[in-house]
Point group: C2
Chain length 341, copies 2
Amino acid sequence: MASRVTLDHIAQHIGVSKTLVSLVLNGKAQQYGISRQTCDRVFAAVKELNYRPNQTARSLRTGKTGTIGLVVSDISNTFYAQLARQFEDLATANGYSVIICSTDEDVEKEQRLITMLRNRQVDGLVVSSSQSNAEWLMAVNDGGTPLVLIDRHLGANTLTAVVAANRVGGAMLANHLFEQGYRYPLVIGLSTNHISSVAERIEGFVEVFKGKGLPYAVREVGFNTLRPDVENLLANLKLLPFKPDCLFAVNNNVATAALQSLAAMRVKIPNTLGLVCFDDLPYFSIIDPAITAVEQPIAAMCSKAFELLQIKMVGQGVDVRQEILELPVKLNVRKSSFKKS
Amino acid sequence: MASRVTLDHIAQHIGVSKTLVSLVLNGKAQQYGISRQTCDRVFAAVKELNYRPNQTARSLRTGKTGTIGLVVSDISNTFYAQLARQFEDLATANGYSVIICSTDEDVEKEQRLITMLRNRQVDGLVVSSSQSNAEWLMAVNDGGTPLVLIDRHLGANTLTAVVAANRVGGAMLANHLFEQGYRYPLVIGLSTNHISSVAERIEGFVEVFKGKGLPYAVREVGFNTLRPDVENLLANLKLLPFKPDCLFAVNNNVATAALQSLAAMRVKIPNTLGLVCFDDLPYFSIIDPAITAVEQPIAAMCSKAFELLQIKMVGQGVDVRQEILELPVKLNVRKSSFKKS
DNA sequence: ATCAGCAACTAAATCGATTTAGATATTTTA
DNA sequence: TAAAATATCTAAATCGATTTAGTTGCTGAT
């Protein structure tokens, strides 16, 4: 019932063929030599009958739905929410709609959702994948659904990916901590350690300390048990081979969980423990102490991802080079990592 | 190219009609007396040829797309991001996909987006509307696209709406502040003051102070100029008829902007100024001082909205009673509103 | 032997657009 | 004046499913 007025109704209403109406509405009047008067009659009828084209019928015929699937681990995570917003704006400006899906870092769920999106004939996919190899997703891309990875890549020469400079950002944080006098870092990573973003942040970070011959510890917390795991980890710092003097939270959720635990334990930041985080949050700059963080280039990532996806979507089978695009990050130094006294 | 294998291919591959294949795949084999062997051959062929049904074609025929439009002012706002996530889970569990659109509180944009969603033949809409009257949206609902309002209503006997108990929540905050000894509240509202949620929060709040014969001030800040407006307002408190001893931020963004300004001005909370907020954020409980806030029943709102929408979607033209459903909120008392000393 | 009834399947219409391949007048050209 | 060119418009096929209205060939009852 959603649209009872069809092209045929318009056509009959003014006594022409639906072909003509279709041509006029698609701006091909000139090309097909349709007279100005006839065009005007079409437009008038469209307005009078309040005609709205049925996108489903159009999609069936053209094979294009004007829809893009955006697959992330959790849309309620501020990082992905901001990313989704930026992407939505780009998509809308270009006539696309966005279907957003959350995978909870569950590979099976990710595959189910992507299959569902393909069945819905999305024109393209932007995926922050939880998978550990590219095989399945490459089949999707090769199978006719253009796919661009965002935030996480799956290795060189697999799939086009747009990511932040995770390794560099990790190193920036490590160097900053070192310069501020910190020597014993504890890295709080995630159980999803196969994921490129997390892995590279940690690698970039530890390489710095390793290079200086300093000790470091890396521990993992579960994606679905983040809060208790972090709490447990911080309550048992004595179990570590050394007493850490600073923490590196590999993403915003880890940092928030750490802040919660530390507040409950009344640990002073940065006096007792310095803290830095990969991924900046609005509240990091307004709390005391403000949190030092690496800010990701969300807008730029979306622009680039959309641009690359569009090339794939219009390109007839000819695939672009499957490159990994790393965009520069920014270090926001704040009080949580001030010089150790 | 997205799906080259069609029902016809399956049918030809095993030498039956596509009718049969369709019936089998839709679980109507029993009903149409199709033999078990034939069914098995269909399933085998589906697997062998890796058939995925074309949802667009199905939608055209059945008139159902299995898609719901979720329209909010800004998906990057944590409140809507959380709401979207809850709603997505419900939708997915019931076979629906969600297209999310952000309106930026722009009525024209909202109407453009909703029209676009209708053209895409969404089965239903969930809208947090920026409009000030129900007329346009009622036409959508009556025109065949079931619509449920969420977070904001548009008056009794207009459109089904699921909202938080905004007035009650506002009053809870006011009573709490009064009990803590605060007497001179400044309400920081939004330029979008025609919106039911904001309006009712403020009404509920000021009624309490009015009832006690106490003064209060209500000022508005712009949705798109939030940060500077709040900063400007707080820098010029002397322009108010009285010196406020506490602030009521009507939503999470206002509170965040206020916290930013107050931090920059080095104003002590709650000593110099108490602060409460409608809508809780994860970080409110981990900062010092923690922020007293009213927590909205996001999960319950989504469940109820989805439930009501589903009734409308399956109901053949028979519309449910257009009621406004208010769900209870929870007051989380924290340090930012501790007793004035 | 005939026919009702059943089991197992199919042809064709349909959804609402786009698009291909013309059709019909009218005007221009040789 | 006939043929060619042009201007304006249309019939029908098509996309890939669902669904309606049958068809075909048996079996068993009478």
